[in-house]
């Protein structure tokens, strides 16, 4: 139709690329969890999922969302579906409000991500029924780290997306 269409990768390739980034982030999250030996984990997969839902709502599918969730459930030792449920919810709300989210400044986005991460971590604290001062400390630390790492994740994934989409 136009010259730009020729440069675009097929939707199939992009779909796989999104899936691969999700799986890689899941693996990194599992490895980080092993490395840090913390009860909570840095939610890299969740943040990656939020990015893809906000950036390309059409390309993110159920399959990769659920697969990355199941990977985390299996390797972090949770009941199957625990991560999947929260990922589906995160995807649903991200896609519902992605117009508003995109319009925010990066700092505001980081704040929103921090709130989502905070809720996400609370969800796991409730599931594991493990309330202690140290886990609250972990929760706060991981929330701050997540909000700080959001601009990095956003920048890296955006760069990759533009590279893959336009080859620039």
């Amino acid at each position: 139709m136009n010259s730009l269409d020729d440069k675009k990768p097929s939707i199939f390739n992009f779909y796989f690329f999104v899936g691969i980034t999700l799986i890689i982030s899941s693996i990194v999250e599992v490895l980080l969890n092993d490395f840090l030996l913390s009860r909570l984990s840095l939610p890299l997969t969740l943040m990656t999922l939020i990015y893809w839902n906000v950036a390309t709502p059409r390309s993110i599918g159920f399959f990769w969302t659920m697969l990355s969730g199941f990977i985390l459930d299996i390797f972090l030792g949770y009941l199957l579906g625990i991560h999947v449920v929260i990922f589906l919810l995160a995807s649903y709300f991200s896609q519902r409000y992605f117009h508003r989210f995109r319009a925010l400044f990066r700092l505001q986005q980081s704040l929103i991500v921090a709130i989502i991460v905070f809720i996400y971590q609370i969800y796991f604290i409730l599931i594991s029924n493990n309330f202690s001062l140290s886990i609250i400390f972990e929760l706060l630390i991981l929330t701050i780290i997540s909000s700080l790492s959001w601009p990095i994740i956003y920048g890296v994934l955006r760069y990759l997306r533009i590279k893959l989409t336009y080859g620039q």
Partner: protein
């Protein structure tokens, strides 16, 4: 020119006006499906089975860490052991070199001691005479052959003569501050009063300038001399002491136009040998 606008339009078309894939009509079944799986896991412990299978499947990957560690350790130990060995070899080489140096030094000391022993044996024949020792510091062949000896005494006088382990080897040429120049006995300028130990006939031997070779001066054709006769110093004139071997007759030549024989006397005294020189008055 319009490429940028074109792209923006395209992005707007593909992104802003999209509805997304996560519609409620898809979301609810997905949630129900997930809950079913959760229930299945809770009831039948599906996740442990999956974990077991996945751990079995991922065994080669999980072993990579250990394999890498083992490989690194064996690689490291190979090089560290090789390094240790090379260091040990170097240490041993240094030790060998030190021992060789020590051995050489000991050999030198032994040679010096032997030399001193022989010099002291020799000095017994000087009876009451004072003796002085000096260290050879230099040996020169040009412009004339001489040995430079370092001494710590100033009692050495020019009329003294020099001995090494072989015996009488030279005379003092020049006295310097803390050192002495010695001219060898075979120097052409040196004449030594001597005698044939067999016939006791007094003769004079002169140096030829060649190491270890002398000639008898003006020995008449009718004189009694044979090859192998030992020539010793006679002590006449008081310049050289009496009774020291100077050499053996090795060659006797006749010349029809002369009344004298041409007699060569040779010894085995090495002028530059050793490290110590003994000085005494004749």
């Amino acid at each position: 020119m319009f490429g940028g606008e074109h792209k923006q339009t395209d992005i707007a078309q593909t992104a802003i006006f999209t509805t997304g894939s996560m519609r409620a009509s898809r979301f609810y079944p997905a949630i129900i499906f997930t809950f079913l799986i959760m229930y299945g896991d809770y009831s039948f412990d599906l996740s442990s089975k999956i974990r077991f299978v996945s751990s079995y499947l991922f065994t080669p990957f999980t072993q990579i860490e250990y394999l890498a560690k083992d490989s690194f350790n064996s690689f490291d130990s190979y090089f560290s052991s090789q390094k240790k060995l090379s260091e040990e070899i170097n240490t041993l080489r240094n030790q060998i070199r030190d021992l060789e140096n020590q051995n050489l030094a000991l050999k030198n000391i032994k040679a010096s001691l032997n030399e001193l022993e022989e010099l002291f044996d020799l000095s017994k024949s000087f009876q009451e005479r004072e003796i002085f020792l000096g260290k050879i510091t230099d040996y020169k062949k040009f412009p004339k052959e001489l040995v430079l000896v370092e001494t710590r005494t100033n009692k050495i006088s020019k009329d003294m003569i020099a001995f090494n382990v072989f015996g009488l080897i030279g005379v003092i040429d020049e006295l310097l501050n803390n050192s002495i120049k010695i001219t060898p006995l075979h120097d052409a300028s040196i004449k030594v009063p001597a005698k044939n130990s067999r016939t006791l006939e007094n003769i004079i031997i002169v140096g030829t300038g060649k190491p270890k070779i002398f000639q008898i001066e003006e020995f008449k054709k009718n004189g009694d001399i044979k090859r192998g006769d030992e020539i010793i110093s006679s002590g006449l004139g008081g310049r050289f002491p009496e009774g020291f071997l100077l050499g053996k007759v090795t060659e006797i030549k006749e010349n029809d136009q002369s009344n004298f024989l041409l007699i060569t006397v040779e010894n085995t005294f090495d002028f530059s040998f050793g490290s110590t020189i003994l000085f005494t008055k004749p």
